[in-house]
């Protein structure tokens, strides 16, 4: 199993897939900021005055992290950012399911409701993120020369 996970082609694939998914997710949210704001509000978890801060910044973090993953820049760090986001999403969806809310996920803009399926999808991405944090992925990546390594 350890050798399978260490396979550089697998790591590259996970990195690219995760990157593409998050770029797409971020772009969808940006195309309808007001709708995304409403989706966040529907979860009834955040204080109302903070919602728009997240609605404005989160999609861009997704796009930037996704893009950097694809380029192979600071893969571990961006994977960590994405993994933390996924953790928050999974918890939020879980809480909402327990409360019996029938709301939109807001994951890829408007169109799909929350459900066990969402949690499973996010969990797969979460696992991919963890693998990338531990194993990194240097195949076909842009090298950043930093003096403090």
């Amino acid at each position: 199993m350890k050798r399978f996970i260490s396979n550089k082609y697998l790591l590259f694939l996970l990195r690219i897939l995760l990157g593409l998914i998050f770029i797409y997710a971020g772009a969808e949210k940006i195309s309808d900021s007001a709708g995304f704001s409403i989706s966040i509000a529907n979860y009834r978890l955040l204080p109302i005055f903070t919602i728009n801060f997240f609605a404005i910044t989160l999609p861009w973090v997704e796009i930037v992290a996704g893009s950097m993953l694809i380029l192979g820049i600071y893969v571990k760090e961006n994977a960590a950012i994405i993994t933390v986001m996924l953790t928050v999403f999974i918890i939020a969806i879980g809480i909402s399911l327990i409360r019996g809310l029938d709301i939109e996920c807001g994951c890829f803009g408007t169109g799909n409701q929350i459900g066990i399926q969402k949690i499973i999808e996010n969990s797969f991405m979460f696992i991919a993120g963890w693998i990338l944090i531990y194993k990194d992925s240097k195949l076909f990546s842009i090298k950043i020369h930093s003096s403090s390594e």
């Binding site: 940006i30 900021s33 007001a34 704001s37 409403i38 509000a41 529907n42 109302i48 005055f49 919602i51 728009n52 801060f53 609605a55 404005i56 910044t57 989160l58 999609p59 861009w60 973090v61 796009i63 930037v64 992290a65 950097m68 600071y74 571990k76 760090e77 961006n78 960590a80 950012i81 809310l101 939109e104 408007t110 169109g111 944090i133 531990y134």
Partner: protein, 192 residues
């Protein structure tokens, strides 16, 4: 596990900056502080006023029997609202008896399972597809949106959308389908 936390912070900070800038420049940008949407309930006084007025016009009609109007059977004073107004079951039923149009904001499937008698379906999440239905409605007449009940926001969101489209007399039936069903008021279902 060694992560460059400084870089993590920078990535998030710069992304956020880009986000705020984009939002500022975007004509469809959203406000930094989201405003709470407070539901405005109809004043009890207004309810009595409107009932009193329509009672008056009813009695006028009985005297004017020779001059028959082919239009509406009701002469209502149709003042526009400043925003959608929430109402509860008794008022909703009263308006139902007067022939107001009910709009179900829930999904097609939920509507098919059961809806208020004579209501139409405009699912909030697919409202773009129902533009043609909307255009058949008279924007000056009273419409009432509803969804499942107190925990459902679809009726509120749909009412805001309709209000922006020019419907100025919108009620939000706060208790919704659940209250209507409990009271045993007229319903219909598309399922056999």
């Amino acid at each position: 596990m060694i992560l460059n936390y400084r870089n993590i912070f920078l990535i998030i900070a710069i992304s956020s900056l880009i986000g705020f800038t984009y939002n500022f420049l975007n004509p469809e940008g959203i406000p930094l502080i989201k405003e709470e949407r407070i539901l405005q309930f109809e004043d009890e006084d207004i309810q009595h006023q409107e009932s009193a007025i329509s009672d008056l016009t009813d009695s006028n009609k009985i005297e004017d029997n020779e001059h028959q109007n082919n239009n509406d059977s009701e002469i209502e004073i149709d003042l526009p609202f400043s925003e959608p107004v929430a109402i509860k079951l008794p008022r909703a039923y009263e308006l139902y008896k007067k022939g107001a149009k009910f709009i179900d904001a829930r999904t097609k499937e939920e509507f098919a399972e059961g809806h208020i008698n004579n209501s139409i379906n405009i699912p909030f999440y697919e409202s773009e597809k129902y533009e043609s239905v909307l255009s058949t409605l008279n924007k000056n007449k009273t419409v009432i949106t509803y969804c499942s009940g107190e925990d459902c926001d679809l009726s509120i969101m749909l009412s805001d959308e309709l209000f922006e489209k020019g419907f100025k007399r919108i009620y939000i039936f706060y208790g919704g389908w659940i209250d209507w069903l409990k009271a045993g008021y007229p319903i219909e279902s598309l399922n056999k």
